[in-house]
Amino acid sequence: MDESPAPDEQLSRLMARAQQGDSNAYVTLLRAITPRVRQLVRSRRGFLGESDVEDVVQEVLLSVHAVRATYDPARPLMPWLSAIVRHRLADAGRRHARQGAHEIGVDDLDVTFQTPVANSREETFGDPDALAQAIQALPPGQRQAVELLKLRELSLKEASALTGMSIGALKIATHRAIASLRRALQGTHEE
């Protein structure tokens, strides 16, 4: 890709043509501004890794696309673009901070703990056959929810699309299934 910057007037002309529906001009414009956006993101968020930089770049491109009607062709493009980059970076920073507040960084833990008490097997269930039987004994809707969401690890949206059940119904079915499994396995475990 050509990384040399295009003059501002050329970018403005390309955007004006893009607003008239010229697809080629639009692609040319996006390819021309992408290195500039990448450079802006890197210069303002030097600590971001390459994949994070690329995520922000893509967000900016999507934003440019979404609000291209707000560009006035009589004005230079770069201040308009820089404002979008600045605000999308701020949004990304806020999102990152929110996620960070709810996540705890954990080092890889050893399989066993140093303290013998912590190596209890009480928290795990060691009988896969009993678990499989308990799942088979569930009502069909609950069994399907567990299989899709817990065993195949599909998202709620994917499972909903596959089964035709609503997301709410899937959540309820899963909740009930887990409660039933806990009761069933508790009984097995006590025997």
Binding site: Q19, R31, V57, L62, A66, T70, H87
Partner: protein, 218 residues
Amino acid sequence: MKTDELIDRLGRDVTVTRPLPTPGMRTAVWMVWALSYLVVVAVMMFAVMSSARVTPTPLYLVQQGAALVTGIMAARAALASVIPGANDRVWVVPAIGVATWAAALLWAGVLDLQASGTLGVTSQSDWPCVASMTVGGLLVGAPLAWMLRRGAPLTPNLTVGLAALAALSVANIEACLTRPHAFALTVLLWHGGTVAAIVTLCALMGHRWLRWPDMTTR
């Protein structure tokens, strides 16, 4: 998805897009609606309550003028705030309007005190104005909210707060025109309190109403 693939996808998705008119032009369009509302409601209320006419004094006209200017400037600021690269300090002019409006009401309160020996804080509750300003604000503000959604949600909380201020400034004029108030401080406390409460609420909810479109799920 790689960035090059995204660019190709966006290129295929591009359609004819009419650039938005300038914020000043859009403000003028909104003001036509807001003033029409004001005229229609005022005429209806005058017809119903013919005895309850307001006597305009110079200070009263300054208050209403300041409210009107605040409404216009707040609407313009809100519409400018959704244009990337526009002035970042769009809120300054509406803030001056609000300060002028409050100062005119305070000055009228001082005159009330001199004339009647009281500020009249407890003399009159003003729930009808709170209700009419809330409903009026919704009616006047709805088209403005629709216009804002065509812009870029750069500062959604500020934008929605300014839009609420614009709508409520106009609704305040309607409330003042159609219901006479014995004391200026009643207007300051009840109308000002309503404006402050609703603007704060709207500003806090702004990021829920104005969002970047989630294009990744399309």
